[in-house]
Symmetry: C2
Subunit: 206 residues, 2 copies
Amino acid sequence: MKNNQGLVRRRGRPPAFDRREVLERAAKIFWRRGYEGASIVDLTDAMGITAQSLYAAFGSKAQLYREALDWYRAALGAITPEALDAPDAIAVLSALLRDQARAFTDPAYPPGCMIATAALGCAEENDPVSAMVADLRHASVALVRARLERAIVEGDLRPDADPVALARFVGAVIQGLSVQARDGAGADELVAVAELAAMELARHRA
Amino acid sequence: MKNNQGLVRRRGRPPAFDRREVLERAAKIFWRRGYEGASIVDLTDAMGITAQSLYAAFGSKAQLYREALDWYRAALGAITPEALDAPDAIAVLSALLRDQARAFTDPAYPPGCMIATAALGCAEENDPVSAMVADLRHASVALVRARLERAIVEGDLRPDADPVALARFVGAVIQGLSVQARDGAGADELVAVAELAAMELARHRA
DNA sequence: AATTTATCACAGTGATCGCTACGTAATATC
DNA sequence: GATATTACGTAGCGATCACTGTGATAAATT
């Protein structure tokens, strides 16, 4: 009906649900409850499909979570190379901090970041899932670090600045913003924090 | 045997374990795995007692977690009014950030903070536990804020500084340090982040 | 029409969840 | 030693976990 837009012709009855839409609904449950805190019943209730359809479409809970993270990164929370590509690294990262402060408190979505504060401490059996999310955090910090290294070359950042520490600093503030958003902080409060962090970045401007 | 040091005489067979010692072992499991990630079997295995003894001594998993948090705050992770009481608020908070960076990476204990990044996103049934830990985070930030307000009165901090935002900023950095410690960061890396945050604090010195 | 695939409702898998009843062993007071 | 009190080990409670089998029906293709 809605899905399978003529790209791949298959025989048999087509799915009655839009795969992307039910994925988004599942992602919001994972976002709010975390991987372990979201049960299959929670997910199927929100998605409006049965467990059989879930497993037929997504394979497993862990695979569904992986796809939910992909959705989040593509739709909302990504720190992409493109987003960091504009001139003036310090302005780019200051805007990033402010944007994240606003995004983490957007009432249209669950509070906080789906990646920055996910799967911190979980049952041993789910350590692989935790490691996967940690890898996404590492990758984001690495992108920020690369952008800061470029900023030194381009003369935005002082040559004696430490891109590794500054990137970790930006990551830490974003993670803290996510914690406080989950604890109920408002947009203005978090933007004020982001601006303090941006001030510290500006201190390293060339 | 080891416990019940003559303080309260009771009839019947005395416990064969030291209550404080098994509580500390339980706390480390909670610390590493979180409230939901630590099962009763995980806990009793680490504590070296049976589930029967656990429930007789601590009442429930939630109550054991509460006592574990008390142990953590008393033994290690507390931001107490006393710790913040020394002169020069900015020096105090800078030292706090550095100390936390070191504590979060102490190989003698699980990585990160037991409170700063605990119970973020959990099953609905455990929302009360999550709220309890969030309250502890709020209380810590409130202590920092009070110390910063005093610093304005005492002339450490510039009168136009924002104690609320600065306290949230300190809290956010600590929370980010805890995330990155859990992700495997080392002491030196986190101390470098703490020092960047301390630099921003210093910018508001009177 | 025949085939294929997806839907649903229902049921149930073994495992684990937090938690507890029961009988016995050990230590107190009397 | 008698008795009361408490802890311990075994075993198991009902509930939920992620996940799957069955079977009938519906909707698409060939």
